[in-house]
Symmetry: C2
Subunit: 398 residues, 2 copies
DNA sequence: TTAATAAGTCATCTTGACGGATTAATTATT
DNA sequence: AATAATTAATCCGTCAAGATGACTTATTAA
């Protein structure tokens, strides 16, 4: 249902608008914030004062010397808040302790032997105190946990690659119970797009873009009007299970020719295995192979066309400003795909362009964990994400 | 950029919330409006008074007699406002004069000989006085014109089927100049989804659904959180140009195997033509053929699989509550496709279902024109669409 | 008649944005 | 050195809108 508003809710919106203006446009004096937000000088000043009191922003030294009273630039206070972001995928759980400025204060990755949600939750929960300790942060400024894991959520018949029976909803619930802390959940594509949107240099100023996430599987995240598009159940963007090659490779979802069976690290691993090269660890692939390895080249030539088609689908359906391509797959693999997938097919994206249609994502391998770590901040400040903080915990965009 | 808010804007939001509560939940007394919106009794009462003064709602006779002061149910005043909706496609321009209740007070369709935007605009503009006259409405309550035409807009290299060089943006501008009236523009899929959302019995209460629009081409409209998703340039949902059959039929867009070359009236027409049956008029197809005609059956068997794949793509990317299938193609064609496309492929839509995954759209052939006619109302009242009323005129969702 | 009940309105309060005047801090000018 | 000019930020009063609780009104039940 539509929601009515009032002065108090308006203020929360405006507080977020001010916060974002400061975050996006760097240190700004109040007068400049007022101009970019359209709020009056006074309203701006009051909201800045409150953000200062909350410790989320701070005044910096005025740089330039000009006529007139010197401005007091206000910037995000990087250490005004901390969050933990977990990125859980097959065999591996990465964790970051991130501050409000998006800087990773501590990172850790450990192998996961179990695919049982309860056990994984216990494991992650056990890490939390040590993570906070090792990051050396002021724990009174700790906001909560964000969790990223492959989707879809709540669809028992479809599991992420190599994670049969896996469901992020169950893991979130278990992690909540094990830690007693709020846990916000989103899938890896949504977390990646969120991280890119907040911390990437190009994506920061975009309102509509798609993140193509290459990992064990292939997912996507859709950023639209400043929030990750989730659809009815938070599962939107499941590009990997769109059909790229009718009658093609069989997929765990029961269909044939899903894009993920052609374009994913899992697909490459299987291809290598069929050729007698067993390489189940993504890091071994990253370090021991390259795009010029004959088997990889062969796989790439089979992957290129389905990927080109998938990108065309994303463009025609979402009409994004650009598509950012990234993921925790080896960087050389992503770059080889970007190189080969050009020239792209014609699509509705052939209009009004200010950016390339396909761009390399700015952020590296921990994009997803950083995106997850962003969720508690959004749950606290962004009115569009406020529902994430509800006790029963909705999903992003759900 | 994010937009700050204030008391005045809040009020507009709340006015819309009240209006929608009345529209969706039928005649409601103020107290019930207050309960469904969450606004106080007083705020509700004030907003209802203003809507009454604007003539958009009216008080009805209280029905039930119970203890206590009898409620005065408030309902949409169907004749509180009027709009014109034009649906322009190859060879044909349909027009409706619609009232605020969504009732069509007058409809008209005429063949279009030209595909020149300036001429078409002159033609449409010339119709306006006669349309208003023949509808017999109070012209002081006329709000403006909504225009639907196939997309994409602003992409010279991609034209709608059989409309080379066509661009809705140019038509809108010409129609504005010819009439001096505000003209709101959206593509046919977006207009269809808008009409279904407002006037369909099932879709009225949905927040996320997709409309699959079968006409000369194949488009889709994505309703999300109460507005048609448009992406960066208002062109989102161009399902017809996603690749369904790699290396398949060649498409006017330069690619091969676009879904539209398999699933569209244009595709059927071409198929018939190749078999020696020339039938360029959709009405002749509708009246002279049926799903049991051998050539149609053959076409259907070729169309089913690409459609099944396209539906899977929509489900996996948008995670809708349901997909409504409709359009101005012959009803028997739509129904034959619905019948044949089942069983659908597995997708993320296999969760949490309250509705069938694929439904026949409620509205008939004039859905698009009615959706177009809705745009001026949205531009006036819905804060999410307010930009449609701007002088430079953005697109839906743009 | 009177009590009970429910819908709707009135008066008052609170919140928050806005606008103009004022103050503060600095450079430029005389 | 004094003063003017300039710019940033704040003070203070005003205004719009929603919330709140008491009050009024219209009706049925006893």
């Amino acid at each position: 249902m539509l929601r009515a508003t009032n002065a108090v809710k308006s203020k929360l919106v405006n507080q977020w608008v001010v916060f974002e203006a400061i975050r996006i446009h760097g240190p700004l004096p109040r007068i400049a914030i007022s101009e970019t937000t359209g709020l009056s000088k006074q309203a701006t000043s009051d909201l800045v004062d409150e953000l200062l009191a909350l410790g989320f922003v701070r005044e910096e030294k005025s740089g330039e010397r000009r006529v007139g009273k010197p401005p007091k630039p206000v910037a995000i206070h990087p250490d005004g808040a901390y969050t933990i972001g977990f990125h859980v995928d097959f065999g591996r759980a990465a964790a970051v302790v991130m501050n409000l400025g998006g800087e990773v204060r501590h990172r850790e990755a450990r192998p996961l032997s179990s695919v049982d949600a309860g056990r994984v939750a216990q494991d992650l929960a056990g890490q939390v105190p040590a993570l906070l300790e090792q990051a050396g942060i002021d724990t009174s400024r700790f906001l909560g946990i964000g969790l990223a894991t492959p989707g879809p959520f709540g669809v028992p018949s479809m599991s992420p690659p190599r994670l049969p029976g896996w469901d992020g909803l169950i893991l979130r619930q278990a992690l909540r119970e094990a830690t007693g802390l709020p846990v916000a959940l989103a899938n890896d594509g949504q977390c990646a797009v969120t991280a890119e949107w907040r911390f990437g240099t190009a994506a920061r100023k975009l309102r509509h873009f798609v993140y193509l996430y290459l990992g064990n599987g292939l997912g996507s995240g859709i950023m639209t009007n400043g929030s990750a598009f989730g659809g009815a159940n938070g599962n939107a963007g499941e590009l990997g299970h769109t059909i790229a090659v009718p009658g093609g490779h069989s997929c765990i979802c029961g269909k044939h020719g899903c894009l993920e069976t052609y374009v994913s690290v899992d697909s490459l691993t299987r291809y290598l295995g069929e050729c007698g090269v067993e390489m189940h660890d993504m890091h071994r692939i990253e370090n021991e192979l390259s795009a010029s390895h004959p088997l990889v080249t062969a796989w790439l030539s089979e992957a290129t066309e389905p990927l080109r088609s998938g990108i065309n689908t994303l463009e025609n359906l979402f009409d994004p400003q650009t598509i950012m391509f990234g993921g925790d797959a080896p960087a050389w693999l992503i770059e080889a795909l970007i190189e080969r997938v050009e020239p792209l097919y014609d699509s509705i994206s052939l209009t009004n362009r200010q950016l390339p249609r396909l761009m390399r994502a700015d952020l590296g391998a921990d994009a997803v964990a950083r995106g997850a770590a962003t969720l508690p901040v959004l749950a606290m400040l962004d009115p569009q994400y406020r529902h994430l903080g509800d006790s029963d915990g909705e999903l992003v965009g759900g």
